[in-house]
């Protein structure tokens, strides 16, 4: 065990139109934030396939942020709402699987909100730093309620996926 401060690795999916531009703005305005965030540009937060998030966690990310335009301000009109639904579904699933809250975050940031994004990044890094590295298998076995969680999953899944015909 070392005395070194734990430096989490957080993957952020930033939408091209709002949150990536918020990151640009944070840069232009020289707003400092902690460097533990590594971003991926996607055209829309609606592009974020839940499997990307799972992939990031499985490859050793300690946290994942999905950032998009504010509800009602999506460049593609309403696709961030889809991101919101998927986020809820994913969050339920991950919590049920024993992952701590705060490791997955959905953040709205408009192109004018460099300050909002950088503050959210700092906050998330601190939260994840406090949680320590993602230690999924350990938590899984410690969590006595995992059987119940597994049984709850399909219902939550169906709820979140509900698509109106």
């Amino acid at each position: 065990m070392s005395d070194e401060r734990f430096e989490p690795k957080i993957i952020a999916f930033l939408c091209n139109w709002c949150s990536y531009r918020a990151a640009d703005l944070a840069g232009t305005a020289r707003m400092k934030y902690q460097p533990n965030i590594r971003s991926i540009r996607v055209m829309c937060s609606g592009r974020v396939d839940p499997s990307f998030v799972l992939k990031a966690f499985s490859l050793g990310a300690d946290g994942v942020m999905i950032a998009g335009c504010h509800p009602g301000e999506c460049h593609y009109l309403e696709q961030n709402y889809k991101a919101m639904r998927r986020y809820e579904m994913l969050r339920h699933t991950l919590l049920a699987m024993g992952m701590e809250d705060h490791r997955l975050r959905l953040q709205w940031a408009s192109a004018a909100e460099g300050n909002v994004l950088s503050a959210a990044i700092n906050e998330m890094i601190e939260q994840v730093r406090a949680l320590g590295p993602l230690n999924w298998p350990g938590l899984w076995s410690e969590n006595g309620g995992h059987q119940a969680a597994i049984e709850r999953l399909p219902h939550e899944h169906a709820e979140a996926l509900e698509v109106t015909a």
Partner: protein, 671 residues
């Protein structure tokens, strides 16, 4: 997979190199699998930097390029072009934002290098999976839609029409002219506002290339750059435009007087059938159904009786017009800040507190008082007038922005008051902002003419007198910051220089046209410095105050700028559509139709005979939501496919300790 990747790290002078060890970073990149060339250079965006890339592509046979520099929003096009000139498909280039996301936001140099390495590693992995893409050319319809008939929209419409291209102008009010038509004089030249505007208005009205649709609104916009389909609602005027000659007898005969809250800013009256002002374009009047006696009681019809051409049509209904449009200019203007929100200034409670727009109408020779500056009683000439600056501007409780025009308008008011009356004028300012041509000179001139200036933000306007000389007056309480004292000064009249704010429905309008607003509500331009009239949506342009507070010359300049951008597109005739679209692989599609409802652009249709869904590439905007939703992964999003994104995740986490059964993780002691 044997791609030859070239990595180029930009110093950006010291912007990147000052924080990130670029030499070390380039060395790291050079050792990544697939990388054959790795260089760092002072300014990659310079022509020498671009030539470096082109030369390596040609001489070393690079098949992929990664540029670690600024944000792709700034220079992605530059480097795509550099690749294209060397014969490499531009979509085989990937940028890593080392400046905006690393060097400018990180303090610790060692951690900045770590982050930069991860970002380069992500880009290198991703770029090897990128595919060649070709933009699709589509024709550009030469018709342009101009929304808003203020001075910015008028200028834009005339520029385009004079170049020979058809223009459709939609104006919500019965007449074009916008706010400029309400003003008396313009600063700093003191030109009569109507004298310089009305000729332009009538040019719009008579131009054979301009179709003017007043009293109308855009209901729906579909399509994409060069090929928009627009549905316009023409509200029922109650007057047949084909028959009306604009003689105005109906207005004369109408027995119903209504306070004109729009054009006269509540200072004057109009009839129930009216034109906002005599020089209105078009000349056709409008029946205000909410106030017309006929619509209330079913009798009257005075206008109809006297109309010599039988143009009055009480049963007229809203009509709809569907247009094919190539490009759209939004010039929707601004709303005046509601001074009632700042109750300390007493507007709406103290009779002789006016807003700047009301005062414009008072000064205007064609206004309700024939240009006489009088108190609210309509007869008394004030002997002293206070001009309170920054009402709803430069104020964190309302609007933090500077409204850009009020200082100069206040100087103009000062001049007009001294020209027309014997009154003393005092301006209460924070700073006088006079940044354009001849503005500072105008400020000097007003100081010479005897206008008084008190530097300080007004705390309160009250009628509660404390001293005999304050009886019956409006007292302005202010800290004079030059003298360093609190002062109470009595006045007959107080004019609040209310700020400019975004239209109340700006967000809704932005959404209808697919463009965004800043947090305060102004339309967002593509680039605040270098692309002020384009928006993020191709084919939609903005001009005038809807983009942010500005004065008449700046609005005119933006109108002309937007028009010239569109002329360029029409002249070229085709526009290239980004190939970043989604495609459905029919053989994998089960026809579940989950994706069908997800697309807000109706780009996905279901082919019943094949039992699969299909994406119309011309309508697809490339958001990728359907790609993420397809349970069979039958949809792939060009330039953002699953393999590419997964590779980027792998690259970004190249140094992470794998969880889930991998090597045991170090356990951190929470701080």
């Amino acid at each position: 997979m044997s791609e030859k990747v070239g990595v180029y790290i930009c110093h950006c002078g010291s912007n990147i190199a000052g924080t990130v060890d670029v030499v070390e970073l380039a060395k790291f990149a050079g050792e990544l699998p697939g990388v054959t060339v790795s260089r760092e250079y002072k300014f990659m965006c310079s022509s020498l930097g671009q030539e470096l890339v082109a030369e390596d592509i040609q001489k070393q046979g690079l098949t992929r390029v990664v540029v670690g520099a600024c944000s792709p929003h700034l220079h992605e096009k530059t480097f795509r072009r550099a690749c294209a000139t060397a014969g490499l498909n531009p979509y085989l280039m990937q940028m890593a934002s080392l400046r905006e996301q690393v060097s400018w936001v990180t303090e610790d140099k060692a951690l900045a290098l770590d982050k930069a390495k991860a970002m380069i590693s992500g880009a290198v992995r991703r770029v090897q999976l990128q595919e060649e893409l070709e933009p699709t050319p589509v024709p550009v319809n030469p018709n342009t839609l101009v929304v808003g008939g203020g001075v910015a929209g008028i200028q834009a419409a005339l520029e385009l029409a004079d170049a020979g291209y058809p223009v459709f102008m939609v104006e919500r009010e019965p007449s074009i002219g916008g706010h400029m038509a309400q003003f008396d004089k313009t600063f700093p030249t003191l030109d009569c506002s109507a004298c310089i505007l009305t000729p332009k208005m009538s040019d719009v009205g008579t131009h054979d290339k301009i179709t003017l649709l007043s009293y109308a609104e855009v209901e729906e916009v579909t399509g994409f750059v060069g090929n928009f389909h627009v549905r316009i609602r023409k509200r029922a005027r109650g007057v047949d435009e084909k028959d009306c000659t604009g003689c105005g007898i109906c207005i004369e005969k109408c027995p119903r007087k209504v306070v004109d809250e729009v054009f006269e800013a509540g200072m004057g009256y109009r009839k129930a059938i009216y034109r906002p002002f005599p020089q209105a374009v078009p000349k056709f009047p409008v029946i205000d159904r909410a106030n017309c006696t006929f619509y209330e009681r079913g009798t009257c019809k005075a206008c109809e009786k006297f109309c010599p051409t039988n143009a009055i049509k009480f049963d007229q209904e809203d009509s709809f017009l569907d247009l094919d449009i190539g490009n759209i200019i939004l010039a929707t203007g601004w709303d005046l800040f509601d001074a009632r929100r700042l109750s300390q200034f007493g507007y709406g409670r103290l009779a002789n507190v006016f807003t700047n727009l009301e005062f414009e109408r008072l000064c205007n020779a064609a206004g309700p008082t024939d240009g006489k500056i009088v108190l609210r009683d309509g007869v008394t000439e004030p002997k002293s007038i206070a001009l309170v600056h920054c009402v709803g501007s430069r104020d964190k409780t309302t609007n933090p922005q500077c409204s850009a025009v009020c200082c100069m308008a206040a100087l103009k008011f000062g001049h007009l008051v001294m020209e027309k009356t014997q009154a003393e004028v005092t301006s209460f300012y924070i700073d006088i902002r006079a940044p354009h041509k001849n503005y500072e000179e105008f400020y000097d001139r007003l100081q010479d003419e005897g206008m008084h200036f008190v530097r300080g933000r007004v705390a309160e306007v009250t009628d509660a007198a404390r001293r005999p000389e304050e009886e019956g007056k409006l007292i302005v309480q202010v800290e004079d910051t030059l003298v360093g004292k609190q002062r109470r000064l009595p006045f007959d009249m107080v004019v609040l220089m209310s700020g400019l704010q975004p239209r109340a429905d700006a967000k809704e309008v932005g959404l209808r046209f697919g463009i965004s607003c800043s947090m305060d509500g102004w339309f967002t331009e593509r680039h605040p410095k270098l692309d002020p009239v384009a928006t993020m949506t191709d084919g939609i342009f903005i001009a005038g105050v809807c983009q942010g507070p500005k004065d008449i010359p700046d609005s005119v300049a933006q109108g002309a700028a937007a028009a010239s951008r569109i002329q360029g597109m029409i002249a070229r005739g085709t526009v290239m559509i980004e190939p970043v679209v989604a495609t459905i692989h029919e053989e994998h599609c089960s026809g579940c139709r989950i994706c069908n409802n997800l697309c807000p652009f109706n780009a996905i249709e279901f082919l019943a005979e094949k039992g699969v869904s299909y994406i119309n590439a011309a309508l697809c905007k490339g958001c990728g939501t359907c790609v993420a939703a397809c349970p069979a992964q039958a949809i792939s999003g060009a330039h953002f496919n699953n393999q590419q994104i997964n590779a980027e995740i792998e690259g970004l986490l190249y140094d992470a300790v794998r969880g889930n059964g991998g090597a045991p993780k170090p356990v951190a002691v929470p701080a």
